[in-house]
Symmetry: C3
Subunit: 352 residues, 3 copies
């Protein structure tokens, strides 16, 4: 048995509501093949994608009156994993399939892949930007063949922007500015402040979009916040220099939150939900679209780096890598992850 690499008793972003239309929708999460569909109340539900009759993929079937009908022999599955009916059959004694708690909130569908008795809505992180009229959000989804922790490392060390994203958000001063990493409660926070620098192209655009001069010096910041299991919110922004930077008044800065939900598909592949929330010109949909497009291009630059890194680590599984100060964010995040997995396992061992 391979070692567990992700916590299960936690909420992951599984998909966005628009991915689950009239038809069932298949996605593997945490090594579990799942089918998502809408029940009679139009709620999105998740079940194992395995018909208890003969093992067909329920996702190849269809939805009728909120029941998931197997496309092979017509077994009708209820949204709790209990068979509702099957033509000419008494289904009371049929085995159930596992249902997984899902919650539609903040524009995402959240899934609890572990012990279902522990699924608790209140543990879903609060995302104020997602429900406020002062904020706009745009994002996308990438599939990447790497361990989800490599993406955590990536996002908790933005030094890589200088190299991977040199033409958009990277700049020399990132490298040159020290980083500070701390635990704040159960959150890992890693921050970098670059004062009195010129904004790179992406931020020049943002300044202009914000009706601010883009050719003057700015104070730039990056504050990455990691929460279990693998949610990373990064406060990023620039303010005209000398006005307090991160704390500058709203009309002198352009800022936003880079939103990252990293959901393991398998031990070496992920669903990466990326996006950006901003609190300037929130009604400007064309601005939302152009930021999404820009961010999509930038974030796609990480794919090959991560996939090649994963390949290298599979070739040399026992080779130690370094843990520098810039890596502290990822290192602390991994420590939280390991602890969560251990707690989970000792809890499971104690279960009656």
């Amino acid at each position: 048995m391979t070692q567990q690499t992700f916590p299960l008793n936690t909420w992951y972003v599984a998909c966005t509501p628009d991915e689950v239309k009239d038809q069932p929708f298949a996605r593997k999460i945490c090594n579990i093949p799942l089918v998502f569909f809408r029940n009679q109340d139009n709620e999105i539900k998740a079940l194992e994608d395995f018909c208890p009759h003969r093992g067909a993929a329920l996702s190849l079937g269809f939805v009728e009156n909120g029941k998931l009908v197997c496309g092979y022999h017509g077994l009708r599955m209820g949204d709790k994993g209990k068979v509702a009916s099957m033509p000419n059959q008494r289904v009371e004694g049929f085995p159930c399939i596992q249902a997984y708690a899902t919650v539609e909130r903040y524009g995402f569908v959240w899934l609890w892949p572990g012990d279902q008795t522990l699924a608790d809505d209140s543990l879903i992180p609060e995302l104020t930007w997602a429900i406020s009229k002062d904020w706009a959000y745009g994002g996308g989804l990438y599939h990447i063949n790497c361990d989800y922790r490599l993406m955590v490392d990536n996002l908790m060390d933005l030094t890589h922007e200088t190299y991977v994203h040199a033409s958009s958000i990277g700049q020399k001063e990132i490298d040159e500015s020290p980083v500070s990493t701390k635990m704040k409660g159960k959150q890992v926070v890693t921050s970098r402040f670059m004062d009195d620098v010129y904004a790179p192209p992406f931020w020049q655009n943002a300044l202009r979009a914000n009706d601010l001069a883009d050719d003057v010096k700015v104070d730039r910041w990056q504050v990455c916040r990691f929460d279990l299991p693998s949610h990373i919110m990064i406060e990023v922004g620039v303010a005209h220099a000398g006005n307090g930077g991160y704390d500058a008044p709203q009309h002198l800065k352009a800022s936003s939150i880079v939103v990252d939900f990293i959901t393991p598909e398998s031990d070496t592949s992920i669903w990466y939900f990326w996006g950006m929330a901003r609190n300037f010109k929130p009604q400007d949909q064309s601005l939302t679209d152009s930021i999404r497009e820009g961010q999509g291009t930038i974030f796609s630059e990480d794919l090959e780096v991560l996939e090649q890194q994963q390949k290298n680590l599979l070739i040399y599984p026992d080779r130690k890598v370094l843990k520098l100060d810039i890596d502290a964010g990822g290192v602390m995040a991994r420590r939280l992850i390991e602890r969560a997995i251990k707690q989970e396992q000792s809890l499971a061992a104690k279960a009656p």
Copy 2:
């Protein structure tokens, strides 16, 4: 060593004669890479696709005067697996390769992959429709990535027509009519009779082709017959209602035999020879073609269902699936298969 999943001392359909032209033809059957070619008498012969000289694939070579010439260094292989000659070499002491008994009969090439001393032509099933002028036949071949027994299950439980083939041969009444499954000698027979129903589109076409009204009620039947190792003949048809159904006089019905030969390529892939034999308008070639086309489309609808089911069963190898009344045909067929494999193995164990 993995468990054997198919009998070997039996006849499988390996290919159709038209697949073996002037050139050698490669096909893997029961995990054995084979090469088929025509000898000097134009008989199709099958050998291991392995040159005893250096292991090259003989199928990349050519046929000359009924000998199979290796395309690498010119070794000439005879049709019994004994080397005939090689330029500048004395070949008497060369090792032989395994030859496999083949018989061209009924428009198919039959292969005996097991103990060659037991290969007996008389064990090839008799197919009267294949040699009678009163019948026409059209068919095709699909490669599907699934255990051959999943296809046996599929064909021995036609309930799936309602779902997989809803727009052509499926209809609600299939689900609603009980099925009866029996052993008749060494044959598993599973039957379903639907009286006084409307014909689905495929059968409306057949009625018209048979010069019968297609808008009146019919009695419909499906009689599936499984024979070892994996041959399934399905008598299907409709008769104008109230005339005896299956036993109605010829001029009041449209009927045919769905012909299925399922040949394992590997433990999780098959060559599926499908077709339809009919005893109405047998000379009408364009009718044969249009039926073949329709059937090809319908049968292609099973591919994804079966391949996804196979994937699910590989993910959960120990998970039990149900054995309902509608599954009885497949269940009994699998019992015959298991018994045949066991007999084969105890026979092999006793061999001197």
Copy 3:
């Protein structure tokens, strides 16, 4: 652990200098992922393609002032595998990565994948045709999915030309002429002489290019020379018949050297550097180009044969193949290879 199939304390051709431009260049050799780049002196250097910081592929980075800069977080790697610098980091204690000896010579980059203390330039074979003005060379590179020894066998037994290359360099008389194989020092030499035959199309072209009649009988020869680890030089040519063949005066013959460097990528794949050196009309670049094109087409005919042979040998790993007189070249070459590997291993075992 699988058995070692190739010597490591030896020089392999890794690439050609033109493959390593301004950017780093990735190639796996002998199962080692390598990155090639040019240092400040424009020398090509080879390192493990593994950044000691976090395991990223260095080949995705860039070269700056002769240093290899990791494209992920900017670690700057020196050409000996020692980290030169990293923004904001003290790198003295960073682990090194393995550097591999490389030599640019004769138009190739030679790599020593084994014990670096034993790398000795003087062991690179002398290639007089590569440095003489009387010779011209053209060649190319193929990637083939086969054990490198299958390609050694292929080139040390040119009988296959009759079959694989029937339309270009093959001819019946190759088969009919005996072959002679001998050890000459540490070199395996296998020769075939065909007197008083008609030249096949490739050699007719060469005769014409050499201003010689192409419709008269010729004496043809093939002298294959194998040197460790897997270099094969084949002297080939035709002379107007009766003038001494191989020893005929220059103006009565067309001759050249088929150049083959076979470099293992993995146990079952190779980088195959092929080419032809000729000592007639060496200044005629368009002749060089047309020969290269012709040879490229001919040599591509071997790919499928070798890849299918490899697949067969993987299916039947314990099956013995024949060792005929025509196979003696490959057999002796394999004996040299095995001995070299054994010596290497006993040397390594003795190491302190």
